[in-house]
Symmetry: C2
Subunit: 339 residues, 2 copies
Amino acid sequence: MTAAASSPQQPTPERFFGAINAYEQTEAIKTAVELEVFTAIAEGNTTAGAIAKRCEASERGVRVLCDFLTIHGFLTKDGTQYGLTADSAVFLNRKSPAYVGGVIEFLLTPRVREAHALLTEAVRRGGSALGEGNLVPENPDWVKFARAMMPMMVMPAQIMTAELLKGGAVHKVLDIAAGHGIYGITVAKQNPGAEIYACDWKNVLAVAEENARAMGVGDRYHLLPGSAFDVDFGGGYDLALITNFLHHFDPPTCTEFLRKVHASLGPGGRAAIVEFIPNPDRVTPPMAAAFSMMMLATTPAGDAYTFAEIESMLKNACFSRVALAEGQLGLDRLVIATK
Amino acid sequence: MTAAASSPQQPTPERFFGAINAYEQTEAIKTAVELEVFTAIAEGNTTAGAIAKRCEASERGVRVLCDFLTIHGFLTKDGTQYGLTADSAVFLNRKSPAYVGGVIEFLLTPRVREAHALLTEAVRRGGSALGEGNLVPENPDWVKFARAMMPMMVMPAQIMTAELLKGGAVHKVLDIAAGHGIYGITVAKQNPGAEIYACDWKNVLAVAEENARAMGVGDRYHLLPGSAFDVDFGGGYDLALITNFLHHFDPPTCTEFLRKVHASLGPGGRAAIVEFIPNPDRVTPPMAAAFSMMMLATTPAGDAYTFAEIESMLKNACFSRVALAEGQLGLDRLVIATK
């Protein structure tokens, strides 16, 4: 007998079958978060039987799920004992301060899944088969985003703020598509004189305002409810934050929007753009580059833009200097443009 | 600025986010097969524009899809030129004799996807949330299986047949849950005197019979339509083939069924069991072990059984000798049991 599957030199369809069944990883990690399997193990329930009892599930189901999570690197297994990997202990135990399990509420909404189920149609037409996708006004998915994603954004917001402080303190700050508000709030905390003007849908701003109050900057936090394309920003800002926003739109729309931002800045004012930014090859780094697929499936014309593309939009919007900051903000990069 | 994502020693949620979005790989590979992207590239269309024209899709959609396929190892990219990897050229070009793209028709049926969408419920109850899952009589998904999976099974069937021939020629062969029929047909071709009795649902047997005729063994091919649990097999077989069947059922059901097989064999008759067989740890090798998840989601009580479990079922069904053959049949293993 020969061993086709174990000869790496031979062509093999294994990667193909792995991709076909990749959705099982999505369902398994979602189920594990929903049932609090990682939290159960962190509490000392290490056998399928003990985890099942804690999670109110069947032992057989938990055994299959935990084996699957072990195969995919989320758990360890020693005999019949499951354990947490270092990453799972930090990020998936609900009692860990860095817990991020809540992001499934935003990242796996039915609308996002449906948009991908129609991917063939999206590739045919060059944009989401669901039309406006998640860009409809007051979409409650953005409230989920604001609530679920904030823990992930605390560190990137701190890194961004530290980088921006190198250019001097700021006083009047526009936070566009504020979401959870953490970027603007972090800037407010590090710039004690700064007033923050946060723009987003009204239902989303309620979350940002709640966070601003909880973090002690509520008295310097002002709301600009509505579409960022329509709201009157006012003027005289010395900083505008545009975080994970441009990727939803096509380059002409982004350029037009950046002109509006440019007009709202005072002399020497800066725009800080936080984005997934793939390299010019568009296939590295993998997670930033793969974000293009999310935008194809879920928006009419959005994309993960390269630095050259963002620079071109900013120059066309009359910004004078454009620089890509060193290093990462999590998976994001920071572009700073000066009026 | 620090680079959290690029410090492998630091805990990172990257694997978690990768798993959350893993379903995008499923949708992307399905779309690429449906649009014949790999075939288009094999024909010499190597830019997004040329592929888009050949596949009747948008250039923008094709560019994002091909970048995504490159990120996940299915294509190469050099400047604006896409190329096939060695595996994609062999298995995903529709004009390749080893093309397997058709398996998406069976592996990604709406029922299978729906069963996984209800995985939390399946883990709670310890079996498919859809009840009988795909085990209902005359389920047309098994016709899809028979048509789609045959190309994949030609080589495993040849390996199995060669191994069985070491034990001597066979004359009367029972092929249980024959599906495409390729296992029994291959045995018939290598044993010119053998008569094959194929059991499966009537609608599925039509595919097996068609294949038997096309492969020149139609005159030695006999049909036993109906449930393998209910049909009268007759007796005097010197070989019974039980390929990818036991994993759908729980051990008592398997044992009871193997007793029926045992009774149908003549003296010294053999049962050949082809199965995904994980190691005793149940987490290696990864693809065979992960098959447990597919059975949890889609069957009431099926599983990927270890050799010890299969051996126990066979011994309880009164088989005298049980042996695990060396090597792989693709992802499967072969167990030979003697009456």
